[in-house]
Every structure is written in structure tokens, then in C-alpha cells.
Symmetry: C2
Subunit: 415 residues, 2 copies
């Protein structure tokens, strides 16, 4: 019978082994994982077909079915992503600081793996491979609890990963797949704080809230992205409109899309027609404040709830402000700590914005759509944190490590 | 009527103000806090007297009364500690990494305050001033929930801190004192995850467990310190005995004292008599494994519970091992992730120990008693973390910050 506790114990045991593997061995094993996925492509697609059939029987939405589907091209992409992770710098064993104390003790802070990470996610089989590769690269064992809709796909992918572990003489516990979809195992997993060091949930707000409220293990939280664009009085209108349209329109369903436009009254006076045109041309619905309402065709009056909303659709809230300070005040009130952007040519104003706004990503004259681990050069991304503890913003492999103190002496004792 | 939610809202509001104070202003305000404590010494001692009277009426232990007591000397020490914190490097606004992407975006990781930190602690009034100063230095607002036994002392210290804030035009909410000792406020505080970013509990294991299990806010955990000393076969016996006696005897009641001696069989063969003498001379009770039991006078046979125990007294568990690997295995099984020490002259063995053991502090040829923020050069210490998330080991001001991404562009949008 499946036991989540036994699985977690195996992961904990394997974590000691994985934590001291050499950089070369991890790299070789990751490349073997990519090759194994390519070799076993047919089996993986067959198992994915089982999930797809069940999904249709259970009348899942087209969007969900699309995310669930694996094709030869998608498997190629997954394998390439693993190779890309393999080629990154090894994040373990780096000396981050070093100093000597007066008594001769040498102190170092050295990066180490976190230990055992549990990933709880919905029905995207690519997360199984991505998360496993990122955690392994950082010397951690991982427990993968995917959505039940992707169970057959996840098990098939897991078998390929295990094949590579085996070829390199590493315990399978290093990548532990929860093979029984019963929800009770998740509840039990969240209590295993002696075995698991970190929980990363990925999915809707409901899942993240359930995990956060029921876990005895630290949780990386990412609730929502209510990203703001502030168009300052000293901004370049062309940059402003490009960044507005790119942020709202390019892919409205993702967390780094814009949800609110905050705009200085001088810019409203001079350029609101162009701004309104650019949004309306792209079929964006507008929720406007009283002062700007009449500048739009068919805008609705924005409510407090609108400024709090993550639309994830072609909708935007608009707020006119009299000053930079009022813009900052609005953003601080409604921020989700994800990403905020200012467009300005005034360097002093840009500096003040950077100083006043402590969201996880603060941008000057660039699209919020760059707020993503891949785009910011972290390589693959395991998730994004909007709570400030441990990691803040997009998380790459480095976020899956911590630092220990190493103290080198010659017999020193304390007086 | 006292409302913890209102207090937390004031702290949140003040946190925006404190987060962008200049380094100079924070330094000046901290020095003013130290001066205000000295000026108000008499009032503080009078209020402390009220707490001491109540403590005697309530028959608190002598040790607790001693920790509660404030004297002119202790107030001088508290003021000096604040001045020491004032003089440290400012941890906010530092650029930790910076790089440019191919599309011309400049990316920086910049240190920022965490926001609002709540400190929950027992009846040590010095913690009120220390914690307030550390959090303020790192640009955070703090909520101070001290033990009810120290209430009058804490309020009096708080008044001095507020006086300094006021002199510098800073909101009192930056150092928010919970002035009503009713336990229900703590329960409510732990639910305020929209207002508070981090909880740091300091006190007994019961308090820490209660906070961890009931908080919706991330908690820095420090359960216990079961610190191990491993005397390797290639060790210098004089260093080994010095480090053993210092670690066990100098101050047995603290978390960085030794609790278990792991010793290689070759060293038992050659030196067990000297080792036993050194412990017995210092009145240390011994819980020995089967193999070493007969080498001690009056030792008891060690149980599994002994290897798991934080004695906090003149008691030690002893375990003979046949090899380095067996020593590591024993330590990994019983570690509390606090501090482990190896004594060895063999550099390869030292390196292997450092690599295999991922406790928060790993030491070679030095006493475990150095595992402390002050001793390791961090300046004052807000606490110690034995969970790996966010901070690991002794925590100074830097641990009270996080990092945001700052992205500087020139109109870049995503293709």
C-alpha cells in the first residue's frame, strides 16, 4: 500500500546522498535524464493519452486539456530545458562570504541544499520534469505531488528520470513521485515537518491558500499578480504606450500581465486620447476612475474591488493621480508584491520609485512581462515568491539553497 | 480598548516610512534611543521594581527573576548594545548582484527590509531594546509581545524608544509595544498575515511550538541545540579535551553547549582515561554507549532518548564509533541542525565532515560555544534559526532583510 510517510523517509535518506554529489555527476545525470525522456517518448505519449481520454470523459476545459497534452515537440522542449539546467553553474558549495575573527577563527558562509522539497501542482506534466531537474541541480531530494488528471503522464516521466538516476547509481528516492492520487496523502504530507524542508505549491489561489493554511512546513507563497504601470509626468509617451500594450495585451492570462494603469494628470491632459485608442484598439475593457471615465468609450467606473483584482483577461483598471506621491500611495495600498513599473525619463523620479516600492520586481521603462525567471536570466524557474521570506520574486536554482556557517579553528575555546 | 489589529496596522503604515529612512537618520535615531534609555534609567528601574514585586508574589524561580531584573549596569549594557548596532553597516539598499541582459535590461538584486516583524518572547526586558534596535536598523517596523511578567519594564523601555523616534520625526508605530498581556492578542496576531511579514518567537520549546503550529505568518524556528563533538582518530587530544570541556562545562544551560560526544574507537583505546577524567573532574554525568560504559565511574547506559536530549545541564551522552562514516551517520540521525564540531588534524577528514554535515554551524577544531551571532562577528543577534528557510544559524541585521529585483530599461517590451 502506498505510504506518503515512507516516500518522504526515502526522500530524506536520498537527500543526504544528493547533497554531496559532485557538480560533474549532477550534470551528467541531468543530461541522462534528458536522453531518457527522448528515448521513452513513445511510452510517455501513450500514458499521456490515457490521461487525455480520462480528461475528456471528465469534461475538463479545453485550456486544461491543452496544458495536459504532451507531443513529441513538447517532450523535446522538456528535455532541452533539463539540458539547459544541467549546463548552469552549480549552486552548491559556493563560499558566499569569508572573514577572519580576531581570535583567528576563519568563518565562511557556504551554500548548501535545502534538503527535501515537496512540489504540489496541478495538471501540467512538464512541471514534473522541470521541478525535478531544478531541485536535483541544487542538491535536493524532491517529492512530486501532481494533479490526479496527469497521473499516468507523471509516472511515465518519473520512470525516465529514475532510469537516469539508476544509471548513475543514485537512489530513486531523490525524485519521489506520489503515485496515489488520493487527496489524504497531501494532507499528511503537509504535517511531515521532520522530513520535508519546504513546500512549493503551484496552481490556483485556492490550492495555495489550502496549502499555506494547513502546512506545518514552510511554504513559498504566490497568491496573485496585481501588477501596476505608473506613467509619470516626465515620461516618453511612445515608451509608455508600448509598455502598456505589451504588459496588458501580449498574454493577459499570466501573473506578470498588467492589471492597473496609474497615470499622472499632466499625461492625462496631453495624451489620454492616444492611450485610450491603444487600449480600445486591442479590445481592452476599461474600469476607470471618476476623473478619467469620460475619456474612454464604454468604460465602467472603477470600484475598490477593481483595483484589487487580478483580471487575467483583456481588462484594466485606470487611476489618475495628481502627484508621484499619490501614485506611490495607490500602489502601496493595492500591491500584491509581484511587479510594478514606472515609465519616466526623470532619473530622480525613477530612483524615488525604486526606493519607495518594495515589490519583488520593480522596473523602470520596461515591460512587466519581463518579470519571469527565464526572462531575467535565472534559467528555468521553479516558481515565484510574493512573500518576502527566503526568496522574493522569480526563483531559480539558487533559491533552492540556503547557507551554513563553516568555522575553521586551531583549538580555540571561549573564555 | 487595546486592539492588536490596530497596533499592527500602525506598524504596517510606519514600515513604509522606516523602510526608506537614510542610513544616517537611522544611526542618529538609534544613538538617541541609547541616550533616552540612560536618561530615563530611574523610571525604568522603578517600573522594573513593580514587575519584580509581582514576580516574587507569583513565586517565579530565582533564575527567571534574575533575567527580569534591571540594574543601572544592565541598562548601560543595553544602551551600549544599541550604539553598537547603530555603528554597524547599513544593511538596506545594497546591490547584491548586478548584470546586463542581451536585450539591454540592467538587472540588480537590492536588499530591502522585510516590512513588519513581530517578536514574541518571554520575560527578558533587554530583548525589547535589542530586538527593536536590530529591526529598526534593518528598516523594519516591529511589534513587541513580551512576557506578562515584564510588562511594566517593557512599557517603560518602549517609552524611551518612542521618545527618540519622536525627536527624529518618526511614527511611534515603528516600534509597537503590545501593552495588554491578555494571551488572546497573541492568537489574533498570528492570524494577521496581511499586516505582518515574519514572526520570531524566542523562549522555551513550548512557546515556539505553539507559535509555529498556530501562525499563518512565516515563523523563524529554533527548537533546540543537540550539539555534537566528534573526536576523530587523527585528532590532537589536548585540543579535543579543551574543546570538550569548554563546550560542555563553560555554560551548560545554553543552546550552543555540547550534548553528545562521538568518539573514534582508536581515540577510546588511547585516551579514554584522560577524557573520562576531564569530564568527571567537572562533575559531568555520563550516559555512555555499551562499548565505553566501563571506562567511566558511575556512567549510565545511554538510551535512544539520551542521544536525542538537550540536557542543558552538566550531563553528556557518549557514543563510540568504528569509523568516520559511522560518526556522520550518528550525527545525521540525531542532529537538531544547530552546531556540530569535529576535532581532527587531518584536512581531508575535516573537508569530508564539512561536506557531509549540513547543520547551521559546522566547526573544525573550535568550541561549539562560538556558535553565536556576537561571537561570529554579526554584532547583536536577533535569534538563531535551525530551520533552513530564509536564514540558517545565528541571525544578525542582514537576516532581517530580503532582496528585490530592480530592472532598468529604455522602453524594452517582450516579443
Amino acid at each position: 500500500m502506498f505510504s506518503i510517510k515512507r516516500l518522504a523517509e526515502q526522500a530524506k535518506q536520498a537527500s543526504f546522498e544528493v547533497s554531496s554529489l559532485s557538480a560533474e555527476k549532477k550534470q551528467r545525470t541531468l543530461n541522462d535524464m534528458a536522453n531518457a525522456l527522448r528515448e521513452n517518448q513513445l511510452t510517455i505519449i501513450q500514458q499521456n493519452e490515457v490521461d487525455l481520454c480520462n480528461a475528456k470523459d471528465n469534461q475538463l476545459s479545453d485550456a486544461m486539456i491543452d496544458r495536459l497534452r504532451l507531443t513529441p515537440d513538447r517532450i523535446k522542449d522538456i528535455a532541452q530545458a533539463i539540458e539547459q539546467i544541467a549546463s548552469q553553474d552549480d549552486p552548491v558549495g559556493k563560499i558566499k562570504h569569508a572573514y577572519q575573527l580576531e581570535n583567528g577563527l576563519n568563518v565562511q558562509k557556504v551554500s548548501i541544499p535545502l534538503g527535501v522539497i515537496a512540489m504540489i501542482y496541478e495538471s501540467r506534466p512538464n512541471v514534473t520534469a522541470d521541478a525535478a531537474a531544478l531541485c536535483f541541480k541544487a542538491g535536493n531530494a524532491i517529492i512530486l505531488k501532481g494533479g490526479k488528471e496527469a497521473l499516468h503522464s507523471n509516472i511515465a516521466i518519473g520512470k525516465s528520470l529514475h532510469q537516469a538516476l539508476k544509471e548513475n547509481g543514485i537512489s530513486e528516492g531523490a525524485i519521489a513521485i506520489v503515485s496515489d492520487p488520493d487527496r489524504k496523502h497531501m494532507a499528511e504530507l503537509l504535517q511531515l515537518n521532520q522530513l520535508v524542508d519546504l513546500i512549493i505549491p503551484r496552481g490556483g489561489e485556492g490550492l495555495i491558500r489550502y496549502v499555506s493554511e494547513n502546512s506545518r512546513i514552510p511554504v513559498i507563497q504566490h497568491y496573485k499578480g496585481v501588477c501596476h504601470l505608473y506613467i509619470d509626468k516626465d515620461s516618453d509617451i511612445n515608451k509608455a504606450i508600448n509598455i502598456l500594450v505589451n504588459g496588458k495585451v501580449q498574454r493577459p492570462g499570466v501573473c506578470n500581465a498588467l492589471e492597473t494603469l496609474v497615470i499622472h494628470k499632466d499625461m492625462v491632459e496631453k495624451h489620454i486620447k492616444e492611450i485610450a485608442d491603444s487600449l480600445e484598439k486591442n479590445h481592452v475593457s476599461i474600469h476607470a476612475c471618476e476623473k478619467t471615465l469620460n475619456h474612454f468609450n464604454n468604460a465602467k467606473l472603477a470600484t475598490d474591488a477593481d483595483y484589487d483584482a487580478e483580471y487575467l483577461a483583456l481588462e484594466i483598471a485606470v487611476k489618475q493621480v495628481d502627484s508621484f506621491d499619490e501614485a506611490v500611495e495607490h500602489i502601496l495600498k493595492y500591491t500584491s508584491n509581484h511587479t510594478e513599473v514606472i515609465v519616466t525619463e526623470n532619473e530622480k523620479t525613477a530612483s524615488r520609485f525604486i526606493k519607495k516600492i518594495n515589490s519583488s520586481v520593480v522596473m523602470v521603462n520596461a515591460s512587466s512581462r519581463f518579470s519571469d525567471g527565464g526572462q531575467l536570466g535565472l534559467g528555468a524557474e521553479i516558481g515565484i515568491s510574493t512573500s518576502k521570506l527566503h526568496a522574493y520574486g522569480p526563483m531559480g536554482v539558487e533559491s533552492l539553497t540556503t547557507e551554513k556557517f563553516v568555522v575553521l579553528g586551531d583549538g580555540q575555546i571561549r573564555e
